[in-house]
């Protein structure tokens, strides 16, 4: 029987589909009877979802200005 700490250790390999069928079965057996580990799995999945939605647009202003100037030069000469 896996412990909760084992489940935490294996969780990324589980969500990545990297466990062997036997490991996967043991993992799912544990999850099916352990509400805290089910919550933990849900937290990890929600974290990955949020990461996939991160869209930052911060560019240092000096860099952006320099690049726009370079783009103008480039498009004039193309």
């Amino acid at each position: 029987m896996l412990t909760c700490a084992d489940v935490v250790r294996l969780i990324t390999d589980y969500t990545e589909g990297r466990l062997t069928p036997a490991e996967r079965r043991r993992f799912e057996e544990h999850i099916s009877i352990c509400p805290p580990c089910r919550s933990f799995l849900d937290q990890m999945r929600k974290t990955v979802e949020r990461l996939g939605e991160l869209r930052e647009e911060d560019v240092p202003p000096a860099m952006e200005q320099h690049l726009l100037d370079a783009f103008r030069d480039w498009s004039r000469n193309e």
């Binding site: 909760c4 935490v8 911060d58 103008r72």
Partner: protein
Amino acid sequence: MVGSRTVATERTEEHILAKLREGNEEAFSALVRRHTPSMTRVAMAFVSRRAVAEEVVQETWLNVLRGLGGFEAKSSLRTWIYAILGNCARRRAEQEQRFVPLTELAADEASGDELGVSRDRFFDGGRWAGMWSSAVPRWDDVPEERLVSAELRRALLEAINALPRMQRAVITLRDIEGWPSGEVCEYLGVTDGNQRVLLHRARAAARAALEQYLDEGAERC
């Protein structure tokens, strides 16, 4: 699904390329904004310091402009931009004589047996050894607006920026940019095993930051 997304991406890329070649500044600015934050984090795997990484990213964009006329779209625009980034970053790291092969850095960061969660959260002996000793909060009760708030995004970004550099690069490429694992291993030159460990530790740190953020919010309510 993957197929239709690829076709959509190709169409968007064709559209972006056409706009760039017309000299459309907004299209260039949007492309720079879209990619610069992740490119900077990835460059920091090679050169470590943010200021140097920003110079590498700027040089990359200038090289993108130089090459754009001859770019034949044999690879995706994103793949091409990141290939230029990798070359610029490697060259810069070598010039600074700070270049440590990423394979070594990755092996170093992946060493040891870290769970990704403090061991204090588990019983360390007796009948319940290895079982949770503290509650794991359920996030399905958290209001949706808190889960998608700007503060939560900031907490997540702070956690990512605080990661060791290889973990930061791996989570950026895998989870923020959505690259498949094989492509990330090849790009960074790390083994599949190390990539999995780095991803696990980085995701665990991101989860812990969200837990703390949501926990503080719950106390205020």
